[in-house]
Amino acid sequence: MNTMIERLREGRAAPVKRALRDIFSWRFALLIFSALIVVYPLLWVVSLAFSGQQSLTLVQLPQDASLGQQLLALIPLPEQWTLDNFRAVLTEQPFLRWIGNSLVVALATTLVGLTLSCSAAYAFSRFRFTGRQRGLTLFLISQMFPAVLMLIPLYVIVVQWLGLGNSWLGLILVYAITALPFCVWMLKGYFDTLPYEIEESALLEGASRWTIFIRIILPLARPAIAVTGLFAFMTAWNEFILASIFMDDESLYTVPVGLRFFVSDYASEWGYFAAGSILVSLPVILLFLSLQRYLVAGLSAGAVKG
């Protein structure tokens, strides 16, 4: 009994002790170190964007700079804060048009990708047909190769055979299809967790497979569809290599391709580049935040008592 009381008394101090021990452990040090490595380049981008200048050097060092001054120059702090770069990117450059292009391509990719992957994933999850296992395996295998490997075949197929070079449709098709394997696996995994009895019950009530898919499965799979849609959107939004190869016309560029031309053999407008990069990541961040409540899946909780 006495030992129990002692243990209870210790119990209150224990969390504080544990937290202190964690903070001074090597794990914590490692985490802080890795976080710095990740954050440092981002800080540079932010500083460059708000510096209002185009050069990579934020601080003008004198010839005979001391070691202290040199170290200080490593800290990315601009001499002045201004929105000039953002203003220039949005008004003087065709940046808004590129954003628009990217939005069209990414939204269409999401739509096409989700339509295809939802129906495919449902079939893979619920029906037993010849080639089912093989199809799933093929999808997995396709994920094992780096995307660059598909560059040449995709160029041949899309540009030379289909004649869809320099068009949005070509990009949308390629993006939707390259995102498909991941999306199908993701959605299939979620469909598998939805209790089959729900569908059997609906079948007995007279609903067709299509009604069940539209009115029961899709609403229940909203969290998974949100995540998958986000993935498809980001695939298209961030993609650079394919877009830079397929698109020739500057007015049809997507944002990543356009950004590239701020820093090239003929120009080095690092300030524009940084400001553009920040603007590009905003939609994705907003999308992420707005879908957050779906990302915490839990809609089907309570459907079935385990």
Partner: protein
């Protein structure tokens, strides 16, 4: 309203052994047939074949006189209540109950009226706008019942509907289902592994074991007149005591007693004697000509109004259900007696009942 008839219906998956090897069974119009048996006995498969969720490998299934082997589930006019409720979690209680009518294009007013009626019968009127996730298990199962009711189907199927509920709710829901069946008179098939549910709900009970139909009858028929040791052991709690006895042509004997028996010729040497726990009484209050046995008390389970006394008699173990309460110490010797007319005789090899009427043997002539 419809009857259901199985004619040599069997089910096998791929090339494995048959889950249901050939079932002949008639479920009469308006009765509540309970399919009961241990897990893996094929009762759920049988139910799912009626629903059309499971294909029939061979044989014929008739509902209301029509062969339904190839009829898809939605055309069988059947409603089913699942063990895990299988409600649509994103729809309100009202929408859940209305769904079946909606997809069948019922007029809107009719849907409203039917759902309201069903909700009232089941005490769900205040919950119509809630989602299943906000309801308790018992309420969810009532919604599932309501969803089945509103469609007024030919047949109700219940697949272990009370297994997920706690003991108190189970008794309560048993009452609800019982009343509903009386009120609606719809042919129902009810699958359970719980013999108490089977006894209390069934108009008739079909006992299955390993896919084979062991016996069909009213609860009392099965209880009082079991065809084999499986039925004898399954119905009743605690189950019937079964004692191995040796038949030497004149009498039955085992460690604990010897019974003279009139007609033992032609019977196997190894037999089983069955005796219900409640047929054992204190020797002191029994007629002098009843056989007696003495055993040592191994365990006493007191249920308040009665006790279950576990006795070791020689190498055998017996359970007696004795009225009242008495203080016993473990290991005490206790003398009990029983009415020889209450004995059941089973064949040791086939486990089949040997009935008095079939001229081979007569237990009552002990």
């Amino acid at each position: 309203m419809a009857n259901i008839e199985f004619r040599g219906v069997s089910k096998r998956y791929d090339d494995g052994p048959a889950t249901v090897p050939g079932l002949d069974l008639e479920i009469r119009d308006g009765e509540l047939m309970v399919l009961v048996g241990p897990s893996g006995c094929g009762k759920s498969t049988t139910l799912r074949m009626i629903a059309g969720l499971e294909s029939i490998s061979s044989g014929d299934l008739y509902i209301g006189g029509h062969r339904v082997n190839d009829l898809p589930p939605k055309d069988r006019d059947i409603a089913m209540v699942f063990q895990n409720y299988a409600l649509y979690p994103h729809m309100s209680v009202f929408e859940n109950m209305a769904f079946g009518l909606r997809v069948r294009n019922f007029p809107k007013l009719g849907i409203e009226r039917r759902v309201q009626e069903a909700a009232e019968t089941l005490g769900l009127s205040d919950l119509l706008h809630r989602k299943p996730g906000q309801l308790s298990g018992g309420q969810n199962q009532r919604v599932a019942l309501g969803r089945a009711m509103v469609r007024d189907p030919q047949v109700f199927l219940f697949d272990e509907p009370l297994s997920n509920l706690d003991a108190e709710l189970r008794v309560q829901m048993r009452g609800v289902i019982h009343r509903l069946h009386h009120q609606l008179g719809t042919t129902s098939v009810y699958v359970t592994h719980d013999q108490v549910e089977a006894m209390t709900l069934g108009t008739r009970i079909a006992i299955l074991n390993g896919g084979e139909l062991m016996q069909v009858g009213t609860p009392l028929e099965l209880y009082n007149d079991p065809d084999n040791t499986f039925v004898a052991g399954f119905m009743g709690s605690p189950p019937m005591n079964l004692l191995q006895v040796v038949n030497d042509g004149r009498q039955l004997s085992c460690d604990l007693l010897t019974l003279p028996h009139a007609q033992l010729q032609g019977l196997n040497r190894e037999l089983l004697l069955g005796l219900r726990p409640e047929k054992l009484v204190y020797a002191s209050s029994a007629p002098a000509n009843w056989p007696r046995l003495t055993g040592n008390i191994e365990l006493v389970e007191s249920l308040g109004a009665e006790m279950l006394v576990h006795l070791r008699v020689g190498s055998a173990q017996l359970v007696a259900r004795l009225a009242g309460l008495r203080a016993f110490s473990l290991g005490d010797a206790l003398e009990l007696a029983f009415d020889p007319a209450a004995l059941y005789l089973f064949d040791g090899a086939s486990q089949q009942r040997i009935r008095a009427g079939n001229a081979k043997a007569g237990v009552s002539q002990c």
